[in-house]
Symmetry: C2
Subunit: 297 residues, 2 copies
């Protein structure tokens, strides 16, 4: 997807993460069907963008990215639980995700709800159990608290509720931004911050990385909206124009395609500006940022 | 419900807990509807048996029960989330709980799912945020990990899955016990252990309190099954005999009423025996145990 350097890095840590996720669930002393259901969705072919951000942030500090393996697994569990619950009939009612039947189509609604609950619960256990050579107890507690904030009603769940309330309404740009900042932005931002916290970042670095991730998250979402309008259906995995059909407010709709493209570049520039102020070796993070701006799916 | 001593104790800490729960949710910077939904179920009139066990355990150590206020709130959030999700149409499909419309009947299925997710997520934040004068970082991390184990697939969620798989089947006594030990027992046990951990219990005390809570949980469940068969419908809040109608395996069905009553008393005796070995002032815990054996709803 990117240069050879980023590709090799992403590939290496994706394999490590996939293996860690499987190990973490397999070792649970639990009824087999719930473990199957959890693993089914964890292995449903995500891009692992949040873990990649976490690993690349650790690399920017010159730290061993493996220090972030548990935190990355915890974050991916939260992301996966949110997809399982979002896909349920009483939420988005999606039968397919990334071309595969959604969790509840395979395991039934009740087990899907519980698999989501189980992944959410386990993520905190995994985060609290980071090996002590990678994080002190104080650091682990901070990670637990920030993960809960990013995932809860002040973060992802709050964004999801706001998104549901927005259905069928025309939104202002501020309302649209609230939804994206919360629904997807807070967990993306936490992925960067978790790496920074584990690496022992200074307050100034935390602030710049936080701003970097905030703008990157918005850029990601604007590009999503643009792709929905002009993208290739096969590459993006859902019908082009489905947001319009579903009467969802989008950046191109509020700003026109040209305006949305300008907003995208503004967010990309802001995120790079903050990256530049960290004093870190941000090659990989810069590359990821460029990819967000130029991705076609 | 009990003696004046227990009644006054239960009343005092129930009021403190109710107020704490409301404060914790109210202060969230989140869309109002999700906070309303969370508070609706938190205030739906539960007996607060888990918090009472936690507070009474702290009292047994001569510690200030208020030290357990945050942990009690976290546990009650987990218990409440589990009720919201259990009541959903794709789970037990219950319209009423304790005589009030269930969460999804008032707020809709999607918001109910998210309110459950939000309470589950917030409980870990609340636990990790116990004020430092009540618990060290190491203690708080231990509480987070044990809460996750009690609530997850090795605890409550695992029991719920096993219960679903058991529907329409005749169970052995071991299978029935697996369900109860996990579905309700693990969180009850954790309520006692959380108090003990905060109070700084010795390993030996932890083991005896753990055994106490294990047997108390089983006693509670056996009495539940007996009441379902012979209880007063008005007092227990559901039709007498509904387990039989729903083809659920129960203790009286496997052991006869006499056998179940004997099993109840055996569990009560075992729990008291272990309490007696803690060397603590267990008046309140003994009283709670007697209440479980003699309760009529």
């Amino acid at each position: 997807m990117g240069t050879e350097l980023l590709d090799a890095f992403a590939q290496k840590y994706k394999l490590l993460l996939d293996s860690e996720l499987r190990t973490l669930v397999s070792k649970l002393d639990s009824p087999p069907i719930i473990k199957e259901s959890m693993i089914y969705s964890l292995e449903a072919g995500g891009k692992r963008i949040r873990p990649l951000l976490l690993f690349a942030t650790l690399a920017a500090f010159g730290a061993d990215p493996q220090k972030g393996l548990h935190a990355a697994a915890a974050i991916e569990m939260i992301h996966t639980y949110s997809l399982i619950h979002d896909d349920l009939p009483s939420m988005d009612n999606d039968d397919l995700r990334r071309g595969k039947p959604t969790n509840h189509k395979v395991f039934g609604d009740a087990t899907a709800i519980l698999a989501g609950d189980a992944l959410l619960t386990y993520s905190f256990e995994v985060m609290a159990n980071i090996p002590h050579e990678f994080a002190t107890d104080t650091t682990k507690l901070k990670l637990v608290i920030e993960l809960a904030k990013a995932a809860g009603t002040e973060g992802m769940v709050g964004g999801q509720i706001a998104d549901m309330e927005a259905e069928g309404k025309s939104l202002t740009l501020d309302e649209l931004e609230y939804i994206h900042v919360h629904k997807t932005g807070k967990l993306l931002k936490f992925s960067v911050l978790a790496g920074a916290i584990i690496a022992g970042a200074s307050q100034n670095q935390l602030e710049n990385l936080s701003a970097f991730a905030h703008h990157l998250g918005l850029a990601f979402q604007i590009q999503d909206d643009i792709l929905d309008l002009v993208g290739n259906q096969q590459l993006i995995g859902k019908p082009v124009g489905s947001d319009t059909t579903n009467h969802k407010s989008t950046y191109p709709q509020l700003l026109s395609i040209e305006g949305a493209t300008a907003a995208l570049h503004k967010q990309i520039n802001l995120s790079k500006e903050h990256l530049g102020m960290t004093g870190l070796n941000t090659n990989l993070l810069m590359e990821i940022t460029d990819l967000v701006a130029s991705r076609d799916h």
